[in-house]
């Protein structure tokens, strides 16, 4: 057990691509955590998707031994936190497990919206912030300007900010020294009852569920019976250890230390991020504040393209849920798409990651239906129901009012794109709350209905700002809205998987765009196909897919048969990826593509 004065717990806050992972790798390398030969780039992001996308989904820690110039050896616990708004709660718990944070800002790019949100979360958790300016080796680096921006935008003293290049290694030693000198040591009494925070957990094929913890008070030992306070579940600890980044088993973890334990816990769902872990026999009086169970905010339907894959999809989702308790699913059936699942996610990135993993790791072909937020429907009889699926919309005569979730969004954008971003926010029913400048960058705060953001707002924002805008949001609550269910009829038959909830003022333009899109997405058939958007019985938009005119090939003789037959086989395989609605076949990609709004 290490004296708390020799421990420093810190995380690294950075925008994507500002160099968080490179700096982590450098720190591990400098303190001898791994030899150069063992270094694999971005060690902490171990999942394939994490590495490909440069994002962190699961929190990870690494313990470093650092010998300071004062002659003492310090235990540095580096916490790598998820970096995306979808995982805002997980981020807040990871940060709460630290006393300090290194704020990494790209010296050529400056502060971004995501950085800002995470810095505020860190400040809310009373963390000491150590600003570091990365990529000073780049010609475009402007240290003074970015320091000024940190002071203006975040209100943080940046005079002592350390200029580094994580890539070349310049000045990285100075970061380690500053961690010891400028970040506070944890406090905690080893003699008190055990009180530890559950930071994150994941499933390991050999060890079962591995639980990442920060010990606040008391000690955690092998063999000890611990209790998870939110559920009351009791487990005897099998192993206690730390990551360096390789697993190293220890006898115990003391106050201020970060490490892991295993205790024959079967499912990640049994461990909840932010929960308090205590000793079963000698529990602490109060749990830690700030715990809340994961709450999905975005829902969509996932259906196998081939109906025969339904059970495989169920198994695959079950296996992903082993490691991600924030993802929920329940069986659903659609008149159009057959059997599938209604799934809940923390946000859009989470949705994308899960669907991508299902397709890639489990080799499934999926139809994803329009993402929906959770609407609160207040009925005339005084009851309230939560609706995750437009198909479940009750009869409008029984509805008193509909409420939808709103968010507060922070957007940072170079001022030349401000006009387009303002227009985008206005078009999405946004309410401007604030507009400030830091140099040539504008910081916008907008309140927006989540249902306008949930689908393609982020893509649109990136496109209207040529990729320069950054975006973050938090939920602010529910508000009544004039919302209607818009149905899409293909060849006069409603396609339930295409119906959406939309604000009345936006229904006509959305309906028109969806019909236009479907006109291009559905290939011509042997007959003419009307595509209509309707609210109730009223048609608000219509397009017609003209009948196929001519596709016969001019020549076909003895030498052509094999080639033409192979073409036919390919076309037949392509048809298998379509869904039949009445007499019309709709390609699977149409379900999502139809919803994209190119507002040009």
């Amino acid at each position: 057990m290490t004296d708390t004065s020799l421990i420093r717990n810190f995380s690294i806050i950075a925008h994507i691509d500002h160099g968080k992972s490179t700096l982590s790798d450098r720190l591990i390398q400098l303190t001898g955590g791994l030899t150069t030969r063992e270094m694999k780039e971005q060690i902490l992001d171990s999942m394939d998707i994490e590495r490909e996308r440069g994002i962190t989904i699961k929190a990870q820690t690494v313990r470093l031994d650092y010998k300071h110039t004062d002659g003492k050896t310090y235990q540095l616990n580096l916490m790598d936190t998820p970096g995306h708004v979808d995982f805002a709660y997980e981020v807040s718990r990871s940060l709460a497990a630290c006393e300090g944070a290194i704020l990494v800002v790209d010296a050529s790019q400056g502060v971004e919206a995501q950085t800002l949100a995470n810095v505020y979360t860190a400040l809310d958790n009373d963390l000491e912030i150590l600003p570091v300016l990365n990529k000073v080796d780049l010609p475009a680096a402007d240290v003074d300007r970015v320091k000024e921006q940190i002071e203006d935008v975040i209100g943080l003293d940046a005079s002592d900010a350390i200029p580094i290049s994580a890539k070349t290694g310049v000045n990285v030693e100075a970061v380690l020294a500053a961690v010891v000198e400028r970040l506070p040591a944890p406090e905690g009494d080893a003699t008190k009852p055990l009180k530890a925070m559950l930071v994150d957990s994941w499933y390991d094929a050999y060890l079962g569920v591995i639980v990442l913890v920060r010990v606040i008070e008391g000690t955690m030992k092998k063999g000890q019976k611990i209790r998870l306070m939110s559920t009351g579940a009791v487990h005897p600890i099998e192993r206690v250890g730390v990551f360096r980044p390789k697993q190293e088993m220890l006898d115990q973890l003391g106050p201020g230390e970060i490490g892991f334990f295993t205790a024959a816990i079967k499912e990640v769902a049994d461990t909840r991020v932010g929960d308090t872990i205590t000793d079963d026999k000698r529990p602490c009086a109060e749990p830690l504040p700030g715990f809340k169970p994961a709450q999905p905010v975005v829902f969509c339907g996932l259906f196998p393209v081939d109906a025969a894959d339904f059970e495989d999809l169920r198994d695959a989702m079950g296996r992903l849920r082993l490691n991600d308790a924030s993802f929920s699913f329940e069986a659903e059936s659609s008149a159009a798409l057959g059997f599938g699942f209604r799934c809940g996610f923390l946000g859009l990135l989470h949705l994308e990651i899960i669907t991508e993993r299902l397709e890639r790791e489990f080799n499934l072909d999926l139809i994803t239906t329009a993402p929906s937020v959770v609407y609160q429907i207040h009925m005339t009889d005084g009851t309230m129901i939560e609706m995750h699926n437009p198909a479940d919309m009750p009869d409008p005569v029984r509805i008193d009012r509909l409420e939808e979730p709103w968010i507060s969004a922070t957007i940072m954008v170079p001022d030349e794109y401000l006009g387009s971003v303002l227009k985008l926010c206005q078009d999405r029913r946004g309410r401007q709350k604030n507009l400030t400048y830091a140099g040539s960058r504008a910081m916008l705060v907008y309140e927006l209905p989540l249902n306008e953001v949930v689908f393609d707002f982020y893509d649109r924002l990136k496109s209207v700002s040529k990729g320069y805008a950054s975006f973050d949001y938090q939920m602010i609550g529910y508000e009544e809205g004039d919302l209607v269910k818009m149905s899409i009829l293909v060849n006069a038959e409603p396609v339930d998987a295409l119906s959406i909830i939309v604000h009345r003022s936006r229904a006509e333009s959305r309906g028109r765009v969806m019909c236009e899109k479907l006109k291009d997405l559905i290939p011509p058939h042997m007959f003419q196909i009307p595509v209509q958007a309707a609210i109730g019985g009223r048609i608000i938009a219509r397009e017609t897919i003209r009948a196929l005119r001519k596709d016969v090939i001019a020549k076909c003789y003895g030498g052509d048969i094999t080639r033409k037959r192979k073409l036919l086989e390919k076309q037949k395989a392509g048809k298998k990826k379509m869904r039949q609605f009445g007499k019309v076949e709709i390609p699977q990609e149409a379900f999502i593509a139809a919803l994209k709004m190119d507002e040009n």
Binding site: M526, F527, K550, V552, A554, G558, I561, R565, Q571, K575
Partner: protein, 419 residues
């Protein structure tokens, strides 16, 4: 230019020749028979739209050696599949009218020797309608050919030039006269939907062609094929062909004009007076059996109860060397499953105006289209079912959208259970 090649040709006595083919009626199709396709790969010049296996040899070729190789490949194929009665031989290319008549004659004699030509066998030669080639027509007739297919492509000189053809329209009409003096059965080809061609242009040109009194016509829509000079031009934006809608209009116009002249389509791109259909091509479309001889020739043959798809080496000299080394030029030989055969028979059969023989499909491939799918397609007016003849055929606008119909029928195939 006035069209002057009217009738006297017809009244001339036929040249001495093998027995003239008897008229063939459509109902004879229950067994399409066995045909031999012979590919002659050389051309005087490569046409920019053509994706056939054709090669230009400025130093010529050793025709004796090639002839010997054709004979060896015939021997080999006959040994593999056994005895047959040959209903048709087709010399295609390339430009088979570059062959010496004697070469042609020797190949025909050898086919008769290894299998035996049916008494009414159709023996067709594709010919370039240039003056040099036409000079050999009587020789080809004496050598045993009884039908000639002339590659007119257009009746407009500027268009012929653009299509890379080496003949003029005047030569083509002269060649037609010479052909008529030598062969009873003659066909010629035209290509339409050419760059900048309008409906009016095509109406005039096709009317002129019909006024020549053909008994068989192949009318092809110009398509941009992979690997051709036209494809490169097209991709570079230097060649524009009529857009899909205009091409459909041209196709429709073609059907109208030919029908009005008694040359209604018997296949998507082929038109004939009743009884004048190309028997050879009917073997393909009725999914009969055919052997492919020569470089880049394809075959569908039955051997030891198996249906085989064969293809020979495309490059002429490589093919020659392979035949000299191992008696055949086959480079791929695959067994065709019943399901594959069903797709092929469907694809080919629906191109014919007579349609697809359902009884034969069931007998050979063990499948039939799902009755519900048939009912839907009939409801849409794109196919009809002839209960007496046991056939389905594409009708009306269905003839324009065969791909789509084939796709539906093929996906609907269900096994036939025989009682």
């Amino acid at each position: 230019m006035a069209v002057s090649s009217q009738s006297p040709v017809r009244s001339k006595p036929l040249m001495p020749s093998p027995a003239p083919p008897e008229a063939l009626t459509v109902s004879d199709s229950s067994e399409p028979g066995f045909a031999v396709y012979v590919h002659w790969p050389f051309c005087a010049q490569k046409c920019p739209y053509c994706d056939f296996n054709s090669h230009v040899r400025s130093d010529g070729w050793d025709e004796k050696r090639f002839l010997a190789a054709y004979l060896r490949e015939l021997d080999h194929t006959a040994a593999q599949i056994g005895s047959r009665s040959v209903a048709s031989v087709f010399f295609g290319g390339g430009t088979p009218s570059l062959m010496q008549p004697q070469t042609l004659g020797t190949i025909i004699e050898h086919i008769d020797h290894v299998w035996g030509l049916a008494s009414c066998a159709e023996i067709t030669l594709e010919a370039n309608p240039g003056s040099v080639d036409a000079g050999r027509f009587s020789g080809y007739r004496s050598a045993g050919a009884n039908r000639v297919s002339l590659g007119f492509q257009s009746l407009r000189d500027p268009d012929l030039k653009r299509l890379g053809r080496i003949h003029t329209s005047r030569e083509a009409l002269a060649a037609l006269d010479i052909a008529r003096a030598n062969f009873e059965r003659i066909s010629f080809d035209l290509i339409y939907a050419r760059p900048q061609q309008t409906c009016d242009d095509w109406r005039t040109e096709l009317s002129e062609a019909l006024a020549l009194g053909p008994t068989h016509l192949s009318l092809y829509q110009l398509t941009i094929e992979p690997g051709t000079a036209y494809e490169k031009l097209y991709n570079a934006g230097k060649l524009s062909v009529p857009p899909a809608e205009a091409a459909s209009d041209l196709f429709e116009l073609t059907q109208e004009l030919t029908k009005a002249s008694g040359l209604a389509a018997y296949e998507t791109s082929n038109h004939a007076n009743p009884g004048e259909e190309s028997r050879h091509n009917l073997v393909y479309w009725r999914y009969g059996e055919y052997a492919g001889i020569g470089p880049g020739a394809h075959g569908r043959v039955l051997s030891n109860g198996e249906r085989l798809a064969t293809a020979t080496e495309r490059h002429p000299e490589t093919w020659l060397a392979q035949v000299e080394a191992s008696n055949h030029g086959v480079i791929t030989q695959e067994s065709i499953s019943d399901a594959e055969a069903a797709d092929e028979m469907l694809m080919m059969g629906l191109r014919l105006t007579e349609g697809l023989d359902l009884a034969r499909l069931a007998r050979i491939c063990g499948v039939r289209p799902n009755p519900e799918t048939l009912r839907q397609l009939i409801g849409l007016g794109v196919i009809e079912r002839d209960e007496n003849a046991g056939r389905v055929r594409a009708v009306g606008r269905g003839r324009f959208i065969l791909n789509e119909i084939v796709l539906h029928l093929s996906r609907s195939f269900v096994p036939v259970r025989f009682p």
